[in-house]
Amino acid sequence: MTTTLEKAAEPIADLSPAPRVRQRKARDTSVIILVTIVVIVLLLLIGYPLITLLGAAGSEKGLAALGAVFTDPGNLRIIGNTVLLGLCVGVCGTLVGFLFAYAQVRLQFRGKKALHLLAMIPIVAPPFAVATAVITLFGRNGMVTNGIFGWQADVYGLPGLVIVLTLSFFPVSYMNLKGMLESLDPSLDEAAAGLGASKLRTFFSVTLPMLVPGLAGSFLLLFVEGIADLANPLVLGGDFTVLSTRAYLAVTGEYNTAAGAAYSLVILLPAVLVFLVQRYWVSRKSVVTVTGKPTGTTELIAASSIRVPVLTLVGLLSLFIVMIYATVLVGGFVKVPGVNNEFTLDHFTFVLAGIGSKAMVDTTVLAIIAAPVGGVLGMVIAWLVVRKLGRMAGVMDFIGMLGLAVPGTVLGIGYALAYMTPTTVFGVQILPALAGGSAAFAGGLAIVMVYITRSLPSGQRSGISSLQQIHPAIEEASTSLGAGSGTTFRKVTLPLIQTALISGVTFAFARSMTTLSPIVFLTTPGTKIMTSQILAEVESGRFGNAFAYCTVLIAIVLCLILLFNVIIRKVVFRGRTHRR
């Protein structure tokens, strides 16, 4: 007993004559080191590329291009197109997401799990899957439009883009609104019913108003996805040019990076603005009280006045989604999808064993490197934000979230500009060139960095929300028993946020595997990435190969998600589970 106490008292003895020392939390050196590392990493991941991009847009050539964006009639039409696309996707995606979420949470029907899975598929699917399938089914020679009805339909342009983007991005809105609907206190519905309101009336007078912030938030997120998407407009845009495709063309076709930066800036500003509004205004308006535990069980709605229309719509949409993904799956096994439907394994041979296999291996390896880094970095940032940073927490949270708020096209151009040449600080080279022809690791490092940047925010989000549910006293108890900040994080916090970590890593992996827009600016002949390979195949009309790529990619993502879960649960946490 005495030995331990003397030990504790020893360092104190030196300090006793010193007068009061006022240092807020500054005594925790491990936290200072951690914050410094995180700040440097974030600077390299997001800060430097964005600053370079802003610099390029602010250069003479950039300013000229920027001026042209707002004066040239052609460019104004492009801006108009972009906004129109964003609005349509925002409205349609939110509606579809809401229908799915409402049916899932509130309606009584069989097959809820299937519906949930169906709504989640787009998250693991690469960006071209839907677009290519839609062309195959509904294009000029579409199996449905031409094959069955004999139309020469034109899916290229706005209508096709809206359909494809809605189907690709509605899961965002679905997840958002599902969470909100689930946390709505069912006693509110009961109260309304007790006051004599019918189910339909309750829906319009109680449920819907409570969801307004959620609906607005979903709309904004989808609006940004709509204006920032590059992949689908490239394939499906036709004459309908949007800002992202224009920027892509400027950089890769005209080699005019300053103009690319200028176009990027025009996408970046509304995207970040919408993100800010969504984060800090809509979320504050939210009247839904999230207590963390269900307050009761909702009685599922069986009334046909609501069930029949909602389920009919959801059923039709589901059918459509199933058809699309079935096309993706089947399309890989036929000679020329929609034209020559003869069975073949050529496409899969190409992807799995032929020239395409390099892309498969490269992409998977890079994503596997990036996912744990992104997931853990997200958790560390979340921990710093929730527990350690006080007033600076908001700043770090915002910078971390930029990876999501900044459109992929913009990020890619920023990377291409910033890391085309070696990075130097005060004349000392700290990084070799990461992008362009002479890039280190053939661009692999830059791609991993982009993957981390893009996937970090989701881990950060889930980390923050799960940390906020852990009572600070649990960490203080660890401190009180003699653990420093680092030990507490490792031994107590991390195991408690394992679910968030798993989902963070999983999502990071899925997101990395399916990311396209920033990657197209960074791939080099030495590194092949599946998504950009799919783009190449689609552009040259080899849909079969594209479908095979998509199927393989989805399969890899699903397999590795499963594997990640097992590894993290069984190895890292040794099967320890807990209930809170």
Partner: protein
């Protein structure tokens, strides 16, 4: 279920306790003009308090929510940095010592057990951090689990235990570190009423045996009274009174303390004469009586006479008893509340409204509303306070 109840009510294993005893009482805590101001607030949460806690003493910080008691405890633990002033352990200033290096252990209101670790691992956590050899660690953990009557639950997860058991694990986890000071942050307030009393008694016995200096934060006056050597009553960031429980109860330093601890009647009284320092005669309820008074009270003070409800004596009007302790005025019963062990009356008198508590009432003795009674005060129970500081 039966097993759980039995374990909850069982007492701790006192025979093993001696292993944990210290040769001499540990840890003297000194607070010097300790102050805490939170960012964005002009009012100090803790306002320049001075406090000396003797080694081995059990001190309770008692007060309403927001009085600064928890902030004070957290500054002692090191979870909050003082804005001003200092915390000393023995002769060492602790201000710059991080919380994990202070030889103190805290027991939290929410228990704060690590949900991902078993009971045994929860208790072993701190020892593992100290790199205690495995054999010694096992021995220490086993001993403390036995003392706390938790052997049977060693391999369970915290969520499989009842509230009382969880609290004992939290206590075991703190004790196994052999701290110089034990800090309790409202540890009993999540328990139901009966269990709270059981745990209160266990903590009391344990602390008396071990002689570890203990600081206990609570807003429950019963806990403060039964556990403490001294009670520190706090209000608005300041200490109102530091005294033993009986003095705090019988001779509160202010109207606030009188009101916060137990219940009190404040009667308008007028000073008649100072008999001696701290003794005076006052006129109240139509009588002149001699009572003890607050040191600040002078013959010219505007005064209030504090009397606890149980010190009010009632007798029939028509048969005034001459007994020394029942004198006084006529009053009318306006409200009757039956509690079982006591019955309480609200009585209107010329000196103001009085609450009287009569213990062990029989059915025939209970007065009806509107009944007229003679109201008197028990001998030497009254306490005179200056009236000015009532807020």
């Amino acid at each position: 279920m039966a097993a759980r109840t039995a374990a909850d009510t069982s007492t701790i294993g006192l025979s093993e306790l001696d292993e944990f005893r210290t040769d001499e009482p540990t840890g003297r805590i000194t607070l010097r003009s300790l102050t805490k101001r939170y960012a964005g607030s002009d009012i100090a949460a803790v306002n320049a308090i001075d406090l000396e806690i003797r080694a081995g003493e059990f001190v309770t910080l008692l007060g309403p929510s927001g009085c600064g008691k928890t902030s004070t405890l957290r500054m002692i633990a090191g979870f909050e940095q003082p804005s001003d002033g200092e915390v000393r352990l023995d002769e060492f200033v602790m201000n710059t010592v991080p919380p994990n290096k202070r030889p103190m252990s805290m027991v939290f209101q929410s228990y704060a057990l690590f949900p991902h670790l078993s009971v045994r691992e929860n208790v072993a956590y701190g020892l593992r951090l100290k790199k205690t050899p495995e054999a010694r660690l096992k021995e220490e953990v086993d001993t403390i689990l036995t003392i706390m009557n938790l052997d049977a639950y060693a391999d369970r997860a915290p969520h499989q235990l009842s509230g009382g058991q969880q609290q004992r694990v939290a206590l075991a986890r703190a004790l196994v570190m052999r701290p110089k000071v034990l800090l309790f942050d409202e540890p009993l307030s999540n328990l139901d009423a009966k269990l709270r009393i059981t745990m209160r008694n266990e903590i009391h016995r344990l602390q008396r045996r071990l002689g570890i200096t203990s600081i206990f934060v609570t807003h429950d006056q019963d806990e403060a009274m039964t556990l403490s050597d001294r009670v520190v009553v706090m209000n608005r960031g300041r200490i109102e009174q530091i005294d033993s429980p009986d003095v705090v109860y019988r001779r509160p330093a202010s109207v606030f303390v009188a009101d916060f601890i137990g219940r009190a009647n404040f009667l308008d009284a007028s000073a008649v004469a100072m008999v001696a320092p701290g003794r005076m005669t006052v006129h109240v309820l139509g009588q002149t009586i001699e009572v003890s008074s607050h040191p600040d009270v002078t013959i010219d003070s505007k005064i209030l006479l504090m009397i606890r409800p149980e010190s009010v004596r009632l007798s029939p009007v028509e048969a005034p008893v001459d007994g020394a302790d029942v004198r006084g005025d006529i009053g009318r019963v306006t409200n009757v509340m039956f509690h079982g062990d006591t019955v309480e009356y609200e009585i209107e008198t010329a000196s103001g409204s009085i609450i009287a508590s009569v213990s062990d009432p029989s059915v025939s003795e209970i007065l009806e509303p509107m009944a007229v009674v003679r109201v008197g005060l028990a001998t030497d129970r009254g306490w005179v306070l200056p009236a000015t500081d009532r807020d």
